[in-house]
Amino acid sequence: MDALAITLQYVFTGVAIGSIYAMVGLGFNIIYNCTGIINFAQGEFVMLGGMFMVTLTTVWKLPVGIAFPIAVLLVVLVGIGFERIAIHPLKNPSVLVLIMITIAGSILIKGLAMFAWGKEARYLPHFSGETPINIMGATILPQTLWVLASLLTVVVGLAYFFNRTLIGKAMRACAHNPDAARLVGISVKQMVTLSFGLSSGIGAIAGVVITPIILMDYQRGAMLALKGFGAAILGGLGSAPGAVLAGLLIGILESLGAGYISSHYKDAIALIVLLGVLFVRPGGLLGSADVQRLKKF
């Protein structure tokens, strides 16, 4: 392989994992827009999606086409259940309390996952075989195409949902001004529950499609969440196109860094990007009004 092909190979690997960061970032944004909460359990939804898929396909022997939606649905139920039990009953919680509650939620989900699936990494067969496709000397796995297609579906689906459907518009109204939304008859509390359902579903989709490539274990979620948050911040918290672009960018940077610098520091690269953005431009690359929102805290 020549230098170009190798670089291209790193980019392909980066795009695959970057799509996952993008989806996690989108999940952060949906909840943040609706509630102002950063959900520290976001990565656990990804992990759960992968784990449910493993059980449904290897133990229950369901075909991918049926197991996929069931796995996502199960995680959505977990997401809604978490919101209903732990966040819904609170009256005027402080930011610190919300942070600690979502962290506690992530610890609980992690513990339950360890209880259910054990400590070792779980394997999931690739959906469409493992025969690599050759592109300009570099290879791409069919599973990577699944990942990209999922990201595309999620982005198009969200765009349709938020711009064309009544519920989607109601959610956007809550994000803009909860009081005004309440005045025109939108139940803000229901929208909050819905936002948890939606973002846990997106996390689950990410988990299902990435598990064949990276394997899944019960404590995988934390790092995915941290990098997904990096994507959300880099793209400008609350901005969906920003999160997608930034997620892909972080994935590619990380993959190039692992290839050309050192694979030891692979995880550190994304985090240094996260800190760098927070320090220099907390509004993100595409955000500007969000700097104002910082003052809300």
């Binding site: 309390v97 600690m100 509650i101 506690a104 610890i107 209880f115 220099v280």
Partner: protein, 318 residues
């Protein structure tokens, strides 16, 4: 004055405890509670008084353990010098990252400190030649004064808890001073504090650096007590554990910080029968406290006291 009575009582209990608790294993557990207390007391100053969350304090704890441990094993420096170096290294690092970090608030600050902790953790894992990587390194010498070595658990117990008492006296004085009032005003409203002429940035920085240095000293104690360090002790879970200790005890209460360290520091002993599943119980406790008693145990005590006084003393008479 009230503080001094509590303090005197505390000193008597702490000094007398090893005479009752004879089992070296339990004394060892109390040593860890002491080490945790050092961190939680300083963290409660940052979290409860200055109102700044840090989910990265395990990093400073680790930096202290590694700095002092490495200086003692590689450079054969006395652990006492290592201890001072550890505090200085963590303090300088906290100062350099504090400038951009402390401008952030709420969720941003939480994520930034979490990210910082994770970077330090990755660094400790990756520098294999220097630190031994994931498997860590051992044979760290113990503290000694001349021929007197702090080699058994009881001796180390006194070393740690005397340090806790010194820190406690220091922090209690700070809280009841001009600085303490300034910190509380930042917690109330940073904008209002600024308007009143409180240099909020400077105070936040001082507390951040102070808590980092103290956590680092706690790390050095850990290294020279266990005589072995590996990165796993200083991961994000430890950071979360430390913050949980502070919150469970009651954030803006220094005594609560010690109580939190005692409860969660000894919790693994009670949960031993549950084996690996202790993580579930730990998560559940955290969730329940946060949902129903976000003010922590000190908050519950205060509420009970208020209610009790309210029934005995009519409002008009009080």
């Amino acid at each position: 004055m009230k503080h001094y009575i509590s303090l005197a009582f505390f000193i008597v209990v702490v000094m007398g405890l090893p005479m009752i608790v004879r089992n070296p294993y339990y004394v060892g557990t109390l040593v860890f509670v002491g080490i945790y207390s050092l961190i939680t007391i300083s963290l409660s100053l940052l979290l409860g008084y200055a109102g700044q969350i840090s989910l990265g304090h395990a990093a400073f704890y680790g930096i202290g353990a590694y700095t002092s441990g490495l200086l003692a094993t590689r450079c054969h420096l006395s652990p006492w010098i290592g201890l001072v170096c550890a505090a200085v290294v963590a303090g300088v690092l906290a100062y350099s990252i504090g400038r951009p970090v402390l401008k952030l608030r709420g969720h941003y600050l939480a994520m930034a400190t979490l990210g910082f902790g994770e970077i330090v953790y990755i660094f400790l894992n990756s520098t294999v030649e220097l630190t031994g990587g994931p498997s860590g390194f051992g044979q760290i010498p113990r503290f000694a004064v001349g021929a007197f070595s702090f080699k058994n658990d009881t001796r180390f117990y006194y070393l740690v808890w005397v340090t806790v008492i010194i820190l406690l006296v220091l922090v209690l004085n700070v809280i009841n001073s001009r600085i303490g009032r300034a910190l509380r005003s930042i917690h109330g409203s940073e904008t209002a504090a600024n308007t009143m002429g409180v240099n909020t940035a400077s105070y936040k920085m001082q507390v951040f650096v102070f808590s980092a240095a103290v956590s680092s000293i706690a790390g050095a104690y850990y290294a020279h007590y266990v005589t072995f360090v590996s990165p796993a002790t200083f991961d994000a879970n430890t950071s979360i554990l430390l913050v949980t200790m502070v919150i469970i005890g009651g954030m803006s209460n220094v005594w609560g910080a010690i109580l939190g360290a005692l409860l969660l520091g000894t919790l693994p002993e009670y949960l031993r029968t549950f084996g690996d599943y202790d993580i579930l119980i730990y998560g559940a406790i955290m969730l329940i406290i946060m949902m129903f008693a976000p003010e922590g145990l000190a908050g519950i005590a205060a509420a009970v006291k208020r209610k009790f006084e309210g029934t005995l003393v009519p409002r008009a008479a009080a």
